[in-house]
């Protein structure tokens, strides 16, 4: 089934510098209002070494929750939300034409604090379904890691792609080692 939605208008807010010595250099913050479900969303795109961006988003109402990336909103409208989040990719490519992108599907936590498994989780399945319909293969190589519920878009402008992929993988593992754990 093809996606027919257009998403919402995305607004750039600011960048946050990261002052530690990690590979995470700064974060770009965007926001949008999902008018159909009447919720504000925050899109946080973390810029790392190797021109790599990690894309995260959450409903603003959950901003103080320690599980803001795992909570279930369950109001529908997922296509519009994912399309809007994907709009950061062309926006950031203007500034970083050789950039690559990555997503990790967080494990969902329901109202009774039940936790989803980490492999091939529902968020990852949604990303794997939507991203190939929104982003083409001319600019990026699409790669999915089902066991880690992760999806990457590797820029074809990079010369040695296999070395780049290995470097990025090591960097991501160092930065987000516990990202699939639920505390």
């Amino acid at each position: 089934m093809l996606i027919t939605k257009d998403g919402y208008a995305l607004k750039f807010i600011q960048t946050h510098p990261v002052l530690d010595n990690s590979s995470h250099k700064k974060s770009y913050i965007f926001k949008f209002f999902a008018s159909r479900i009447k919720l504000h969303y925050i899109v946080r795109v973390e810029y790392h070494d190797y021109d790599f961006f990690a894309l995260k988003f959450y409903a603003k109402k959950d901003r103080k929750s320690e599980h803001k990336y795992s909570n279930l909103v369950n109001k529908g409208d997922v296509s519009n939300i994912l399309i809007t989040c994907a709009k950061v990719i062309p926006a950031l490519l203007k500034e970083h034409p050789k950039a690559s992108f990555g997503f990790i599907g967080s494990r969902s936590i329901d109202r009774k604090n039940k936790v989803e498994g980490y492999a091939n989780n529902q968020r990852f399945r949604l990303y794997s379904y939507h991203i190939p319909q929104l982003i083409g293969s001319q600019t990026f190589i699409h790669k999915s890691y089902e066991e880690a519920s992760s999806y990457t878009l590797i820029n074809r402008a990079i010369t040695d792609i296999s070395k780049y992929e290995e470097d990025v993988k090591n960097m991501i593992v160092n930065t987000y080692e516990g990202v699939l754990n639920v505390d």
Partner: protein
Amino acid sequence: MIDVHVQTFTFVMFYTTVMLSKNRTYRNKDNSSFVSKGDRMGWVSKNQAKDVRLSAVLTEGRVVSVKQSDRRPLLVP
């Protein structure tokens, strides 16, 4: 005089409705038979959830073949 009676009646009706709806809310909150999505899908509770290191699971990826859709314009070609 009739106005006073009407006002009193309206207030009593409003108060009763509010109190009844509150009671109903509390009864629902105590309902332990609520079945969540996790119950239906067989998810585990937080303390039973297995910890996992990203390095252990982020192994070989699979290249996704992207079929060009002729109906929807892509955000990036």
